[in-house]
Amino acid sequence: MLVVVPDPASPELARTLDLAGYSWKAVASAEAGSECEPEGGWSGALVDATEHPNDAWSFLRSIRQRGDRSIPVMLLIGGGQLSELDHRDDLFDDFCLSPFHPAELEARLRHLLATDIEVQQAELVEYGDLTLNLETYQATIAGHPLDMTYMEYELLKFLAQNPGKVFTREILLSRVWGYEYYGGARTVDVHVRRLRAKLGEKHAALIHTVRSVGYRFGQSRWET
């Protein structure tokens, strides 16, 4: 779950995040942000400093002051504001010039969040009742062990590491199996069907079918 400043986010930004499949919540201030922070914390912050730079910097200062450096921060800034970055290196991890190119912002976000997962969460992936221990390859749902084949495990791991994001079958096949696999693109459907059965009725909906696109793990956006 990404936290986005300000509230409301610009339509272009909202559109880019939605299309990229991120779940996100726009907030106006740091207080508003901590009030609706999900369990396990925000996975990242995207701060648009083009309209109200002062509010933006103040938001960033307060999240950094919590001593919580684990939230990776992406900053959007206008071309004329570059000088504002000076001496503020500790407040953001990457930035993108606004008006932004949606594909560039998406790529930068993906890189930022992926780097963060590797650095910060090498051992455990958790989402709701699901826990994956990447070191022992064991997964549990609500405390019960899940018996999976290797590819079922790999698919679940990939999805759980990228919650909220919509993946096409092609992407899943290439990222999880590699194209050489003889099962073809429908293999993804077959494995999703098996995973859902193994997750059990109560948790089967963790893997959501996005009609004529592919699959998404977990919630698509903030639900109040």
Binding site: Q138, D147, Y150, E170, R186, K198
Partner: protein, 445 residues
């Protein structure tokens, strides 16, 4: 990838406290074989394979060298949902190799793998979804006719729902082993059940069929019920078939679908069907491999007798089901003669080979035969050019023996061994003097 898979298997065995690992493979007749090893030996087995004497496995025997190598396929590692939860067991399918590392020519799994890979090189993936029928019987009494556990009929929700409970537990077991079930219901005959599996690629499905037959029997035997896949266990009622739904995919697209065709069938689908039809008689000894199989393939019991196709006529060999909501992905053909006592690796190999021969050589699909063929006289069928499936195992073996397609598709080793083994089964059957004969002839002649 292979390294990670091995690591996954080893780690899972350790973490889950698995006590015994069963290495599974299949003989030429389709019987599941199991070699149990302790977890301590598993790492070695995964890397180097396990050597064993193949000479007493049906169809593995060779003149010079009897030792073969079982190399586990780590992608098939799965915990067995039955047995003692405190001492869990796992299974893993093996590919059988010669000691020099080449694929062993007597291993049915390697035969199917070869066909699947050939299709893959042409950009095609072969998907299979079988509908499997079988019977539940009360504990068998030596020499007695088996007694079905219920008197239910088609789709019946039996009141004494032992059957429903059994089926439900079987499905839970199958799902736990990664074998998704699409439908299940009571079939037409007393004690007869049908479970329809969801499609997967052909090799996974052949593995699943092996697991399926074991799981059905395991769950039933727990309740003192005997489950059987014998094609025709009772006279006068339907036998058990395995209707095989087939489709070919090119990437995400169904190569059998064509929106411009009145049947929604692509040229590939039509020539694939033509291939299956033209070579149907040749592959029948494998898809219907017992003496008993041919007692199912008779008129009047919803089993095909003639080599024909139609959209909505269950008397033909190939049916083209009309997909729900016209879904292009669901366009498929249903090959209806096979029975669940076959070796799924070999049966699927031959279906693929026959169909692909039709595609590669551009066979022409004959006319649809949409009348009920059971009600048409032989002379009319002859005029229409509609032939019959082989009438007995001996007939089927005769046709198979002359088939270069089957010989190439199975390889010389299995082709030759299968014919020899089945000829001897036929000879043993032929020497029987049956009650039928005594009833009919003893007093009158």
């Amino acid at each position: 990838m292979r390294d990670q898979q091995r690591d996954y298997v080893l780690r899972s065995v350790e973490e889950r406290g698995v006590r015994l690992v069963r290495l599974w493979f299949t003989d030429v007749l389709g019987t599941l074989k199991s070699l149990a090893i302790s977890p301590a030996e598993l790492e070695n087995a995964l890397v180097d394979g396990m050597t064993f004497d193949g000479s007493s496995i049906d169809g593995y025997s060779r003149v010079q060298e009897s030792d073969v190598l079982a190399i586990p396929d780590p992608d098939t590692f799965e915990l067995l949902p039955w047995g003692d939860p405190k001492a869990p067991e796992a299974r893993i399918f093996c590919d059988i190799h010669n000691l020099d590392g080449s694929p062993f020519e007597g291993d049915p799994r390697q035969i199917l793998r070869r066909h699947v890979q050939e299709a893959h090189r042409a950009g095609l993936t072969f998907y299979i979804a079988p509908d499997v029928e079988f019977f539940y019987f009360k504990p068998l009494q030596q020499g007695q006719v088996p007694v079905p556990i219920d008197q239910g009929g088609y789709f019946d929700l039996t009141t004494n729902d032992v059957t429903g409970e059994l089926r439900k537990r079987t499905i839970r077991t199958l799902e736990a082993m990664g074998i998704p079930v699409e439908y299940s219901f009571h079939e037409d005959a007393p004690g007869q059940q049908e479970i329809d599996l969801r499609h997967t690629d052909a090799l996974t499905m052949a593995d699943s069929m092996m697991t399926f037959r074991l799981a059905v029997r395991e769950v039933a035997s727990h309740d003192d019920v005997h489950a059987t896949f014998m094609p025709k266990p009772l006279e006068g009622v339907q036998g058990s078939g395995m209707h095989v739904h087939l489709s070919l995919f090119q990437g995400d697209d169904n190569a059998f679908f064509d929106s411009d065709d009145p049947y929604n069938l692509s040229p590939v689908a039509k020539s694939f069907m033509a291939g299956l039809l033209r070579h149907a008689a040749e592959i029948t000894a494998v898809t219907n491999q017992t003496v008993n199989s041919y007692k199912r393939l008779v008129p009047g019991f919803e089993a095909p007798v003639h080599i024909s196709w139609a959209r909505n006529n269950r008397s033909g060999l190939i049916r083209v089901p009309i997909p729900k909501r016209g879904n292009p992905l669901a366009t498929r053909i249903e090959y209806r003669s096979a029975d669940p006592a076959c070796n799924p690796y070999l049966a699927f190999s031959l279906m693929l080979a026959a169909g692909m021969r039709g595609v590669n050589e551009g066979y022409e699909l004959p006319e649809e035969a949409d009348a009920n063929l059971f009600e048409i006289g032989d002379d009319v069928l002859d005029k229409l050019g509609i032939q019959r499936l082989p009438q007995s195992l001996a007939d089927a073996l005769g046709v198979m023996e002359r088939s270069t397609l089957v010989q190439e598709a199975l390889g010389e080793h299995i082709f030759e061994w299968f014919l020899r083994n089945k000829r001897s089964e036929w000879r043993a059957y032929k020497t029987q003097v049956t009650p039928f004969e005594r009833d009919r002839y003893l007093t009158s002649l």
